[in-house]
Symmetry: C2
Subunit: 739 residues, 2 copies
């Protein structure tokens, strides 16, 4: 293996730093990266995951208090900020298959002797989906695959309706909250979500405890709140929920499911799947159980009865502050949640524990004389699992300050063994790349950036087709592209609601994770046997995120970079144009096929087969404003870059308050159609994907949802947002070039 210089002799100064300042920053960062300690990481995890610590549990509060005590012992100013939120927990759960061979689902994950914390029954939340509606329903069952929009189209083609049925969907592909939302929209009255062994069980690897994957009776807890409408406390959208705040009455809350929903294991699901009649499902719908998957409906009835305690519970956010020495009013924020569904060793402690080790190490640096230029906030959020509660309420409460002061938010949410991955605002793409060039990958010894960059070349290329085609761009582009942020963790309120440049960071891809997710087995035993067992990637995460905090906090000029962003936005514009063109061509062709009777000709008369409906051909849309805005952003970014390069040596920091406005400029106070809480016109979680991002969401979703008359207006709004950023950039450029 070639020898890689992991701590390169920095010939060029760090972006946003004068040469002299850069040299001292490099030294401080090197000192910092030597500090995180794997033994501490292990002990942090052991402590924080020792007992179940979900919202409202005794150990959730205990952990928060312990975190504060630890932070204080590092010499940091730390406190709990308390909020509250609606957090339903099960009062009663019943699931049966009626008929001659009546079956009652166990709905329980067994204690394993080998796994010491799996038996903490009295403190564990039972398996359930938070924010499921109460309900008692009896109905035939229909299998809906992943319960995504395309699955319902496929069912319609097979003549199967879910109206009045209980759907049984498998976990995966789409975020779980989308499944009951779509099921209800299609007329279902109940929803079961089970873990198929093809998705995270024996098909992928040996089952726990022989291996890391989900066992026969393992089930996945999780929220099903309609978070693409808004996350956080359902009763206080847009408002930080301090005790006493005015609440929306429960029966007016939009984000609770319309039908009862229940997560089950595949052992509990099997009798329901075996009861299904109807057609054999399409190939892609088949799971890994040894049975013939069919659509249903079932002849026998399912019975699902759920009741919840609709209580408000306290949230304990932990916040530590290191005041900035030079720019105290510019804040750099770090966060990872501390609540878990049960013991939560992987999710979230494998991220929260390195974050604590970062804080300890920064405490050490402070003792050695380092002083951050900007104010640093280290946060451990409560209530992420139910609905990003702690981060959302905190950021809504501090919204005005954050809009004025926040420079960047760096999130993590668990960590594993393997490759660095980041999603984030593309104004941070260059910055993120720059930091991971200075962190060493523990397994290969090469810089983290180098490993991720090289591995991506082969992973996209491997297996033929790719190799020889796509490699050139990623081989030659200086910055490895980062993904866009959807949702699924605490960055959501920062980027989507407040317009703060945010990123989500982590390592993974080598540990065979997934099978423990949101179960009682996501614990210290599982993590130390199957994930980052020696905590070297926990240390790498602490080194990575901590270096980012320091480099962002100390820079003379905030090291945002906009040419990467402009390039990415240009790609998004190309995508939405292509999407409209493809849909137009497909609709024309499909309509022609319907008219010619092609679907009838292709149908097997012994099976029900319904041709798709004739649809209006999508109109030609006016993408002009978006093309113009994309071009303008490209030009403005290039001009800024030129001015920035000329200016760097001066160290003058006057431009920073203007720079902070660049991401804010993308916000439209009217928000996205039907969900005003989401104001970012470039990034949003998909209304029908949940976690999955939709970039240029107002435009893209109007096209995807075929709301043709509205598209042109959304193009204009989106273009306006980009033009607002162009204006900010032009001002910043003028300030840098002093004219």
């Amino acid at each position: 293996m070639a020898a890689y210089a992991v701590e390169p002799t920095a010939t060029a100064p760090l972006r946003g730093y004068t040469a002299e300042h850069s040299a001292s920053e490099v030294q401080w960062e090197q000192k910092f990266r030597a500090l995180p300690n794997t033994d501490n990481l292990r002990e942090n995890m052991r402590r924080l995951s020792a007992r179940p610590h979900h919202v409202g549990s005794p150990y959730d509060k205990d952990n928060a208090e312990w975190l504060v005590a630890q932070l204080k012992s590092y010499g940091l100013d730390a406190k709990i900020e308390q909020f509250e939120a609606l957090f339903p927990t099960p009062k009663s759960r019943k699931l049966e298959l009626l008929g001659p061979a009546k079956f009652t689902a166990k709905l329980e994950e067994p204690t394993l002797a080998i796994d010491p914390t799996s038996g903490q029954k009295s403190e564990q939340l039972p398996t359930y989906n938070a924010y499921s509606a109460d309900g008692d329903v009896t109905a035939p069952l229909v299998y809906v695959n992943y319960g995504a929009p395309a699955d319902y189209e496929e069912l319609e083609r097979m003549g199967v309706s879910v109206k009045g049925a209980i759907v049984i969907a498998r976990y995966g592909q789409t975020w779980r909250g989308i499944k009951p939302k779509l099921a209800a929209q299609h007329g279902a009255i109940g929803c079961l979500i089970y873990s198929d062994p093809k998705d995270d069980g024996y098909v992928r690897g040996e089952s726990f405890p022989e291996g890391p994957m989900r066992s026969a009776e393992g089930a996945q807890r999780g929220s099903v709140m309609d978070m693409p409408v808004y996350p956080g406390d359902p009763q206080t959208p847009g408002i930080g929920a301090k005790p006493g705040v005015k609440l929306i009455p429960l029966n007016q809350v939009q984000t609770i499911t319309k039908i009862p929903v229940m997560p089950i294991s595949y052992e509990d699901a099997k009798p329901f799947l075996l009861a299904l009649g109807g057609q054999v499902v399409p190939d892609a719908w088949r799971g890994g159980l040894p049975l013939t998957y069919k659509t249903g409906p079932s002849k026998v009835m399912g019975h699902l009865a759920l009741a919840f305690n609709w209580d408000r519970k306290p949230l304990y956010d932990v916040v530590a502050t290191i005041p900035g020495a030079t720019f105290p009013d510019q804040w750099v924020i770090r966060g990872n949640h501390h609540d878990g569904w049960v013991n939560g060793a992987g999710d979230p402690i494998s991220g929260a524990s390195p974050e604590l080790e970062e804080a300890r190490s920064l405490g050490e640096l402070l003792k050695q004389g380092w002083k951050p230029a900007r104010t640093i906030l280290y946060c451990w959020w409560d209530g992420e699992e139910p609905a990003l509660l702690g981060s959302t309420e905190w950021a809504e409460f501090h919204a005005d300050e954050l809009k004025e002061h926040a420079v960047a938010y760096f999130n993590s949410d668990g960590n594993g063994r393997g490759f660095f991955r980041a999603e984030g605002a593309h104004s941070l793409e260059n910055f993120i790349n720059s930091v991971v060039k200075d962190v060493q990958d523990p397994e290969t010894g090469m810089p983290v950036w180098k490993r991720a960059h090289l591995a991506a070349l082969v992973r996209t290329g491997r297996g033929g087709e790719g190799e020889g085609s796509g490699g050139a761009e990623s081989r030659n582009r200086p910055d490895t592209r980062i993904g866009a942020l959807g949702s699924g963790s605490d960055y959501t309120v920062f980027i989507d609601h407040l317009g703060i440049a945010s990123a989500n960071l982590g390592y993974g891809g080598e540990d065979e994770g997934g099978g423990q997710y949101h179960s009682i087995y996501d614990d210290f035993y599982w993590y130390t046997h199957y994930s980052d067992t020696d905590f070297v990637y926990g240390r790498a995460l602490a080194q990575t995120a901590g270096s980012m905090m320091m480099r962002m906090a100390d820079a003379d000029v905030i090291p945002y970079q906009f040419t990467d962003e402009a390039d990415t936005v240009h790609n998004y514009v190309t995508e939405v144009k292509k999407l409209a063109d493809t849909m137009r061509a497909q609709t024309k062709e499909r309509n022609m096929n319907i008219a010619e009777g092609a679907y009838k000709a292709a149908a097997d008369p012994k099976k029900v087969s319904v041709p798709p409906p004739v649809e209006a051909v999508p109109p030609y849309l006016n993408f002009g404003p978006l093309d113009q805005a994309s071009d303008d952003l490209t030009a403005a970014a290039a001009a800024y870059e030129k001015a920035f390069a000329a200016h760097t040596a001066s160290g003058d920091s006057a431009v920073n308050p203007e720079l902070i406005k660049t991401e804010r400029a993308l916000m439209d106070p009217n928000g996205l159609p039907n969900r005003p809480w989401f104001e970012n016109m470039v990034y949003a979680p998909g209304f029908y994907t949940g976690y999955g991002v939709k970039t240029l969401p107002a435009v893209r979703e109007a096209i995807e949802q075929k709301e043709w008359p509205t598209v042109d207006a959304q193009i204009v709004r989106t273009a306006d947002a980009l033009e607002r950023e162009v204006d900010v950039l032009k001002t910043a450029t003028k300030m840098l070039s002093g004219n």
Copy 2:
């Protein structure tokens, strides 16, 4: 549904017919298509599949004699032509998993009370692979997925060797004979082939007898002879094996496997799969059993002991002849085999029975005064299952006559419910299209051509991507494209060894077939419950193939058409050029990735991972001769078409003997590299695919197998073959235009 005219008023005369002759032909064909009777088809199948009828069995001979008697009763001149061939049958079979929990495989398909012929144990061949070598081996096991070339590359990447091991491969993807061939090439000493439920078991549909799919103890018999080298009697390549012919000694036969091979059920396979250690397999390698598939090797040993009776057995080909009234020396040939692995209701009787009904119907027409212009041969081949024995020996024996007289060969090999499909020489593409425009689809009432054409539009289009892109060509091209012939049935000797324009015909795609294939359950019970249960597609096949026989036999000028062929050859030339370009680009990129250490960077150090080897970058090749020949063929085909159109009204038939040479011209007497029996330079079964076709095989396989120094010469040989056809076409064109 629109009303379709199924018997169109033929305004334009049939191709190759004068207007007057066309009108009478249309009438005779209409009379013919009214004759096939579904009751007869059912009774033919009941009789022919009543008992096991493999090569050498009493009922195989009995069926041949019954066929002759039936044909004679129709007034036809029929006889048995007897040949002989090596046909090994099991003497002893043993398969064990050694070690503490010793397991002995059952190797037996159980009798089912509901299925009356499944209990004919004394006449059934046990499960085995014909032409497996004798052997007694004890070794660890390695799972090789489908055992295709790419699977061995993948194993190498995972650091797994099969040297000295018994491989366990699943049925599917590649022809079964390729699996032991490649296993032996990689150093394995034994080979098990099992039927995974993902490929033809419960994953696809309910298991027999509740449904059509393969049950837990069902196994697939079949030949593993190295037929891509040559099919037919292994001891007499190129020579029709009449008794007394000189034989190659057994120990010099090239086409018998190098290692013992055994087909097993998944119930027998399970303990072997569970014994495998090593890495979890890649996603695409996972089958449908409820276990974690791993590569192996196993710690415990497998023991496979096989011994065979290496006997020569008689073959009873049945041949009926209807002498041609006008061109007795021009032969149109029809064939389907009559031997089965066991009862063989689907394979081959569902094709052989309609063929018999065609013969009966033609007998009726003869009584009504119809006389074919050309000589018609109806053949029922023996010994197709072991190695295309009956057809190959017959055609080798009659090679000289066939080269001189044969106009076309129309094959079928079983039949099912659904859509018409054809593969064949592209000089027949227009002809095949013309006939299926006149046959009615029994389920929709529309012409068979129309249904297949429309269904293809939706099937390529459905699911998004395709629709809106690929539809235009198939919508507007007057002739639906037919596939090219690989191997797997009795057309092989005709097209690949003798250069006779051939086609393979059948209906299917709606019956959920596959699970009964080559098992004791492929019988009357299975077929009449799960396939073409009312024999309407049997009737459609008889109507289709019989009409083709008549139309080809009666034409004044043989209705070959060459612009379709030229268009297809042009596509093939484009494909092989693209193949070389893609491989060059991929090799460059892969070499670059290896040099940069990308594979090492991407590897998980906790798993064995071996970078691919650096390979020589493929040279730039001289495709000039092939481009030139393709252009010349295009021009010659267009010129012929013009002359043909001008000539049609005359009815002059002098050109026919020249036309017969067009397909012969593609033959190179030196054959393909390493397999001289295969002489066709446009079509061949793949050396490493078996069934799957390789067009322009000398060129394509030299590229695929990276034999770079040989490619240019193969381009020249292939171009020469095309230019020979061009010359024939030019002569034919001159003859037609009379100058």
